[in-house]
Every structure is written in C-alpha cells, then in structure tokens.
Amino acid sequence: MTAVAAPHRRRGRDLVRDLVARGALTEQRLIGVSLMRVIMGLAAVWFYVSDIGRRQLLWGPDAIVSQGVARSELGRGQFSLYLFTDSQSWFELTFFCGLAIAVCITVFGGRTLSVLHAVFILSIYLRNQLVTEGGDNLVSIVILLFPFTLNNAYLAVGAGKRRERLRQRRAVPSAKVLIHNWACALILFQVSVLYVTAGMWKLIGSVWRDGQAMYFISADPQFSTTPIFSDVMSYAPVGWAVCWFTIVIELVFPLAILCRVALVRKAEVISLEGMHVGIMVFMGLVPFGMIMIAADCLALRDQDYLSVWSKAASLQGRWPAARQLKSSSMGADRDGVRHRPGVDHPRPAARGAEHPHRRCAHPPGPADRPATSTTPRPGTTLGCVEPTKPGNPSIAVAALDSETTWGLPLVS
C-alpha cells in the first residue's frame, strides 16, 4: 500500500512545488500594477487638492462633521490621524503630509510609501465619511493590498534599474514574488466582485432593465455636466443600449480577464475605460472615473500592454521608438527565442541552438509551452515561438525591457 502511495505522494508534492515555483518565479502584471499606482496616486492628489481651500470645512478641527461625530462613526479597530487631537497645527501637518505622500507615491511608488499612503488616505476618508464615494470604497480596500505588490517596476523614478535587478535575481523563486502575485490576484478578485455585484444590482433594478436608468440619472443636475447628455439619454434606443452595455460588460468582467484570448481582455478593458471616461465627462465624476480606470488597468497582462505599445509605435513610424524597433533584430535572440517582455531575462542558447530549423532553441520536451503562457515552469526555457520575422511588429515586444522612455520600455 505504502509502495503504491509513495509515487502518488511524490507526484502530488512535485505538482505543489511546480505550482509554487510558477507563482514565485516571475512577477505578473507589473505594468498594470504600476499604472494602477500612478492613476490612484493622481486621484488621491486630486482628492486633496480639489478642496484644499475648503479643507477646514471638510476635515478641519471645526469641520461640518465634528470630531466627536467622526469618532463615533469609526468602526472597531479603525483610526484616523486627524482625530488624534483638535490642534490646528496637527491638522495642517497631517493634511499636507498626506498630500506630499500622495505625490510621492505617484512619482516613486514602493512598499514603504504604499504603507504611508494607506495610513494617510484612510485617515482622511475616516475623518469625513460623508464626502467619500464608491471609488473611495474601492481604494480603501485596494490600498491595504498595495504594499504587498511591486508597484514601481514601471512608470516610476528608477524603474529601469529596478527591472534590471529583477532580471538578475529571477532565476530563483522568492517569497517577494509570491506575495506580489498573491496580492495582485486578490485585487483582481476584489475588482471582479465589485463589477459582478454592480451588474447584479443593475440587473435587478427595473429602470436598468427597461433602459430608463440613464434618463433619470441624466435628469439629475448634480450628475449631468451638459444638457446634451440628458437630451441624448432621452432618446430611448440610446438609453436602452447604454444601460444594457453597462450591465453586460460588468457581468462578464471576471470571465473576460481570465480569457486566454488577448483580444477579449483588451476589448473588455477598452469597453470599461470607455464607460468610465463617459462617467467622467458627462457625469462629472472625475475622481471616481480615475479610480475605476486604475482598477481596470490590472486586468491586462504585461504582454497585452507591450503588444499594444509596440503596435502603436510601429503604426507611428515617425516615433523614434518605432524606428528603433524596426531596425533592431525585433527583440529575439540569435537563437530565435522570444523572451517574455519585461519579465524574462535573456538566457544563453541552450542545447539545440545549433538547429535553426527547430522552433525551440532547446530540444522540445513535455515541459515546453507556447510563448503566450504567463508563467514559466522551472527548468524550462522560457517561451518558444516562431523564429523572428523581420518587420513583424508583434515580435518587437521581446526586447522591450532594455531601456525606458516614459517609463515604458523601448529598445535602445
């Protein structure tokens, strides 16, 4: 019995180790989480700055929501730096420190700043809960997971060097990577819960099903920046289409982001961004729209961003990036192996590199997987694809992590 069970146990153990290695070897969604950090940081700066002249009224020691009321509204275990004392100097110090940290996290990112930002932004939310909205609710959850992510590998000061360090240590599974991937997965799960719940709420509301919701929303002067909005939403087919478009894209969000087809993921995110840009422009909910766009950023994988980026660069031939991409070897190594952009480090040609007719640089084994795979398996050469075709922009993404321009990688 034991002799029979032992191989199964070993196989199970191998499977677990394999799974752990997959999760602990390579950080996923580095670009998405960096974009999320930047946009959420900007939204936080916006939150502070938009009422900087009215800060006494909203959060000061003698604000509309008095300190006593704010304290009584706190839940178990909650605290706010603003409620430590009713000193005016302390309020000013806390407010401007929070603003400075919001700016810093937008520019620099990092785990320490994420923790500080979480403390300060939650403090201001809890100081006056009347002026927070749904977007702030999402921020207050995401911000707790943010310190566990590597959120400054892109679009941050020193991001290029940071990625270089990542490439050097990537051969070994590490706890930091595991925790980063775990936190990203939980943030995505939370965003999915939000969208599905929102979609379900809409679905059970008869005004949404009947396509009249947008009409009534646009009739509220508080949520209508222009009369054109209410005029357009009064037209029944448009109102109906907008209502059902919103319901569908919210309900399919979890399925779309899990889909292996990149086009589906991109289409879903573009649809959501369109909806949120519409909310920002026509309903005037700018910070809310920004926060939701930030949340959507994590839905795309690094490959999705880089393929879009390279495609855009190749379309705009006058861009230096595109010229460089075209004149380069299109990102593949001499052995024709395409490394996953921004993620994998170039590896020396392995066995089999002398066989140019082979699709893979090393002898294909059972562990080989297509380049579209997001996680490498330990012990395999990372992603084997067709040999490089000059002029094919889709391959240009391969060499993109050598240098940076605008924080996004371009070939030097």
């Binding site: 009422d51 003698d62 009409y215 009534f216 929303i217 508080q222 330990p378």
Partner: protein, 238 residues
Amino acid sequence: MLATPEARRDATSQVERGAGDDANPAPGRWLVALAGLLAALAGTYVVTCVIYNLPASVSGTEAHAASKAIMDPYIQQNWMLFGPIPTESQHQMLMQVQFAGSGAITPPVDIESPLDALPSANPVLPSKLPSFPMALKRRFAQYAASETRISREPEPARSQDAAATEQLYRNDKIVLQRFLSAEAAAYYPAQVISGVRCSFTEQADPPFNQRDLPEGTVQTRYLEYQTPWISYITGVGQ
C-alpha cells in the same frame, strides 16, 4: 547510483524537464509553506467576501453576520453605489435663517443648487461639497419616513421607537446643524444669527413616457420634511 527505480524516475523527470533546472531550482520548503499560508488567507478572504456580497437570504443570516463582523472594520464593501437605482424625483434643501435681536426670518433660500453647480463650474478641481446635501437629503428622507411610521404606532411602542430613532439619527442632526450654520454664515456674514431651519422638498421628474412634454407641465414640488428651529453654531469651518 541510478540503481533504485525511484532514483531512475527522478533522473528521467529531470531530463524531461530540460536543462534549466540548475537555473531555476525548485522552491524550498519554507516557500511552499508560505504559499500554503497565503493560499489559506486568500481562500478565507475570497469565501468571506463572496458571502458578504451575497444576499443574506442566499448565504444564510448567520454566515452573513459573521462575514460582516470580519470585513466591516477595514474591508467594508458597499457596491450598491455602483448599481444605483436612480430616483425618479429631485429633492431640494431650502434654508431659513433667524436673526438675533429683531427676530427677523429670511425667506427660504435654495442652498443646494449653488453647491451642486460647484463641480461644473470648476471641473478640473471638482469640489466634494455637494456630497453634504446629497447625504443629508437621503438620511432625512429616511428620518421623515420613520417619523411618519412612528406617529401611527400605539403609545408604548411609539415612545420606544421614537427614542431609538432619535439615537440613530443623532449624528445626522448634528451634521445638519453645523452644515446649516456654515451656510448661514456664508450667506449672511454681517448678521448676528440665532437660529436656522431647513425644509426638504421633493419634485417628481417627468415620467419617461412624458419626457417630451414642455417643462413645468407635470412637476409639482411639495414639502417632504421641515426641521424645527435649530440653534446656530458659530465658527464652523473657520
């Protein structure tokens, strides 16, 4: 060395995996243990979150209450705001101010429309001040409904429910008092104010099937709730 079947199998599996094993060693025990811990935490979070967001009738009252106890302090989720059922009427706040000495009372002033216009006037830096009337209107509509319901109850229950309602809306009343005081000070800066009062009114939107009718043909505005005179507080927001 490769004499035992197990060792042979290990060697075969190493060969099958390719040549990269030296570069990508298998995770250590501690990493596997950490992954297990994280998986347990994530699993707990996912289950709790799903129960929290399901209706209590589906997830069960006890499970729902337990999930709320876990999540409410820091991971509170109110996604109903993302699927709003839009109101089919417009609510408005009107303020009256009583001056000290003469006792003169001002006519009702619409204090909400100017606040609602602030974000449109400055869309680059949209103010959050309109959140106050929005929140207060919602809360006092509920309060008015509670008062109406309580007034119809028989006496012993009425007193108990009235006391509970007063307790429930105590903070809202304080916020309304301070909000009106700040507004009154802004509207009448040179006057000595003694009291403020607020009227909440409601005006139905034209129904969807009457949306093309000329404006003003179907809407009627009526008083929803009026507060008693509230004492003025000096220095709010200053």
